[in-house]
Amino acid sequence: MDLLLPQLFAGLSLGSVLLLAALGLALTFGQMGVINMAHGEFMMAGAYTAFVTQALVGNAGVSLLVALPAGFLVGGVLGLILEATLIRRMYHRPLDTLLVTWGVALLLQQVARDVFGAPNVDVSVPTWLTGAVSIGGLALPKTRLFILAIAIVCVLALAVVLRSTSLGRRIRAVVQNRDLAEASGISSRATDRTTFFIGSGLAGIAGVAVTLLGSTGPNLGMSYIVDAFLVVVVGGIGHIKGTVIAAAALGLMQAFFEFSTTASIAKVLVFVVIIAFLQVRPQGLLVTRTRSLA
């Protein structure tokens, strides 16, 4: 099969998009247990940030580099507002959180429609990202390589923050055992806020990244939210490493199933595999046991 390599790349690249969309969720859903249905809309906010930056800066190349941190900030601040106004009041009430954030998602979509109009807007791809890199007869679109790179950078940065900074230690402590962490003098409120800020900010970055591939419109978030949750659930809740593996696996599966069947059948097959997998391992790929009383 002479399409093996291109398909391998397509799968990994799809995996990197899934990973970007799911990484923030792995924090907010995985670590904090908040089912945030508005996560996709934070992505949409990031995507519109890319659009606005491009309109302000003009040069597509420069604006993309500005938009990545700007998207992080916009997503993060939206997350902070959501956390401070609504989610804070309903920790440990997952069903309520789900419904409330679903409502927030619809609200944000309508705001986007009112502010930017219902039609999709165009975020142009910078010239240094158009076309493909040819390696041994294999054409790798530059945008996809760039997104792969962003995904890797985000994962590494997140890993470093969680592993090696005092902030990361606080986050992990609160997640593992909230009461003990509080007893040790950690402000769980401040930690929750920061975690939610980072998680939502990552959604913003994902939003900026996907403007390179697809449409930028009010419904952008809807197309990613389900896949993002799937990745986190399959990866094992609360495990960044699991999220990475799950994203790559789901991306590759989708690409190869799609190649040998059709895109619609591939989606079905991926779902079937996920359901079967969760029957065997309902806790997901990776899980760390702790002594905390859940």
Binding site: V123, L213, S215, I237
Partner: protein, 419 residues
Amino acid sequence: MRLRTTGTKRLGVLSAAVSAIALSACGAQVADADSESSSTSDSCVDTSGDTIAIGFLNSLSGTMAISEQTVHDSLQLAAAEINADGGVLGHELEIVTEDGQSDPAVFAERATKLITSDCVAAVFGGWTSASRQAMLPVFESNDSLLFYPVQYEGLEASPNIFYTGATTNQQIVPALDYMVEEGVESLFLVGSDYVFPRTANRIINAYAEEHGIEILGEEYAPLGHTDFSTIVNQVSAAGADAVFNTLNGDSNVAFFREYTNSGLSAEEMPVLSVSIAEEEIGGIGVENVEGQLTAWNYYQTVDSPENEAFVEAFQAEYGEDRVTSDPMEAAYTSLYLWRAMVEEAESFAVEDIQAVADGVTFDAPEGTVTVSGENQHIWKTSLIGRIGPDGLIYTEWTSGEPIEPDPFLEGYDWAADLS
């Protein structure tokens, strides 16, 4: 990153949410069936006053709002123009607007409301075939009129629906004729996974067999699909002379970006699309579709005094940056056609309109269109266009004269097995 494990509980909540969404989808089917039984054939349309009520039923929210809002805008423009011109038979148009919410069940429900409680003389709107098919039994059982402004897959002719968009022999068949003329010998078919692309591709396959075109691949993506790397890999590997694209909505953006970024181009392997109009090009990015082909019956660049007036009026109303597209023009035309039919019949009654419909004409922006009494479609000129660097579409080829609508493709031998 070690955490407590409340995973299974969270999964439970998530699956509850998923089944809730699935349930609401089932509800849609039930609502469809209900609307059929609510039959009241006595019209309550009130023609005694100075005004006459008509209904605009477009999705102003939800996923189709992107497209249907534009149709709604041009319907409003047509209504304002007609009112400024003295209305219809001396009655001022009174618009009742309903939101179809991108949901066929809502379309059926709101159509029933417009007919039975707002007592409108006719309803204008609908976009997806699913919404049209959901409304069809409502209009037939209440014996009311729907004007449907979008090109579609044909194989339908309800006496209660006037189809002002193209049927297949006014869009897809001429597009194939054009490709044959251009020497295309092999095609790759890419489409969204629902009724229109699947029907269109059946027609294309039948046509290809007759005319010796080789179909090198046929791929469908679910609506809203955002990742086209696999499909573009397959298109690229197949190396067809051209691609016939029946993708709908947002998927086009992802498809064309992937297409361009993989190094494919309009010169090398042109893509002919039947669902991309001026309105969509802005969102895809001109740089990704420049030079590609489209098949419609109207472009903003059509050179006629009627079109000049239409574009000018539209931009004066909604802004200089707005573009006009085929479905918008078809919607605009539908309101004028209804007026022409009412004035011909000198009555708002459905049976009177149906009786005089055959042969009613209107000098539309796309050119003169004529209603066919046989199938309630209209004669339309087919235009193949090429997307220019300014994001507008320029006519590359025309059928020269209006084509008689043939929704069941009865006039084509090769299509005998299709309907």
